[in-house]
C-alpha cells in the first residue's frame, strides 16, 4: 500500500516536471529561431549597405573616367568582403558585375550589379558617363 502510494506520488511529481522541461525546451527553440532570424536580417542589412556603397563608388569612378576596366582597377577587383573592401574569392562575401551600354549623343551607361556569392541579387545601380563625343 505504501509502495503504491509512493509510486503515485513520484508520478505526480514527475509529470509536471517533464511538462515544465518540455515547455522550457520549446521556449528555447522559439527564442533561438527568433535570434537566428534577427541575425539573418542583420547580415542582409550589412550586405545591402556594403553593396550600395560599392556600386556607388563604382558609379562615381565610371562617371569620371568612362571606362569599366579603370573602374574595376580602381575598386580593387571583383570580389569584396562584407565591408565592401576588396577580398580574394575565398574570403569574399559578394561580387560586382559591370557592363556597359551605349546611349545617345556619346553618352554611355554602366550597369553595376552586386550579388552574394550564392548568386542572390543585392543591388543594381546605373551610372551615366559623358566625356564628349
Amino acid at each position: 500500500m505504501n509502495e503504491t502510494r509512493s509510486g503515485a506520488q513520484r508520478l505526480g511529481f514527475m509529470v509536471p516536471l517533464i511538462l515544465f522541461v518540455l515547455f522550457f525546451i520549446i521556449c528555447c527553440g522559439v527564442l533561438s529561431s527568433v535570434f537566428a532570424k534577427s541575425a539573418d536580417l542583420s547580415v542582409r542589412a550589412q550586405q545591402l549597405n556594403a553593396a550600395v556603397q560599392l556600386c556607388r563608388n563604382g558609379a562615381e569612378i565610371y562617371t569620371t573616367c568612362g571606362s569599366l576596366e579603370e573602374t574595376a582597377g580602381t575598386l580593387g577587383g571583383t570580389y569584396f568582403d562584407s565591408n565592401g573592401a576588396p577580398a580574394d574569392r575565398n574570403n569574399a562575401q559578394m561580387y560586382l558585375t559591370m557592363r556597359e551600354t551605349p546611349g545617345e549623343n556619346g553618352l554611355r551607361y554602366a550597369v553595376l550589379e552586386a550579388f552574394t556569392l550564392d548568386g542572390d541579387h543585392l543591388y543594381t545601380l546605373i551610372a551615366a558617363s559623358y566625356l564628349g563625343e
Binding site: L31, S42, V52, E104, G106, A127, Y130, E133
Partner: protein
C-alpha cells in the same frame, strides 16, 4: 481527503523569469534588425533616385552639346544665363541644377548641384 497541489518551485519561477527576459530581448533584437534592414532599403532606393536624376542630367548635357554642334534646337527645359546654358532636373525628392558652358570644341560643367528636397516630418512615425 488529501488534496493534490501543484507546487511552483523557486527554480520554475527563475526559469520563467529568464525566459521572459530572453523573450523581451529577442523581440527587441528582431525589431531593431528589421528596422535596420528597412533603413538600408530606404537608403538604397534614395541612392538609385540620385543616380536616376544625375543620369537625366548627363543626358541633358549630351543632348545640349550635340544640339549646339549640329545647330539644332536646344533640349526642352533649357535656358540661357549670360554665356551659360542652364537646366533643372527634378524628381520627387531630388533637385539637380546644371550650368553648362559650351565652346566650339569643348564643353565644361560650371555647376552640378544635386540636393535633396526638404521634406518636413509632420508625424511622430520616425521609424516609418
Amino acid at each position: 481527503m488529501e488534496k493534490k497541489r501543484f507546487r511552483v518551485g523557486s527554480i520554475a519561477v527563475l526559469f520563467a523569469v529568464v525566459i521572459l527576459c530572453v523573450a523581451v530581448f529577442a523581440a527587441l533584437t528582431v525589431v531593431t534588425t528589421a528596422q535596420d534592414l528597412n533603413i538600408s532599403r530606404q537608403y538604397a532606393a534614395h541612392v538609385q533616385e540620385i543616380y536616376d536624376c544625375e543620369n537625366r542630367g548627363y543626358q541633358w548635357v549630351a543632348d545640349t552639346v550635340a544640339a549646339i554642334r549640329q545647330g539644332e534646337a536646344l533640349p526642352e527645359g533649357t535656358w540661357q544665363e549670360d554665356d551659360l546654358l542652364c537646366t533643372l532636373v527634378e524628381t520627387d525628392t531630388i533637385r539637380l541644377s546644371i550650368r553648362l558652358r559650351v565652346s566650339d570644341d569643348s564643353h565644361s560643367i560650371e555647376q552640378w548641384n544635386c540636393v535633396t528636397k526638404w521634406q518636413p516630418q509632420s508625424s511622430w512615425e520616425l521609424w516609418k
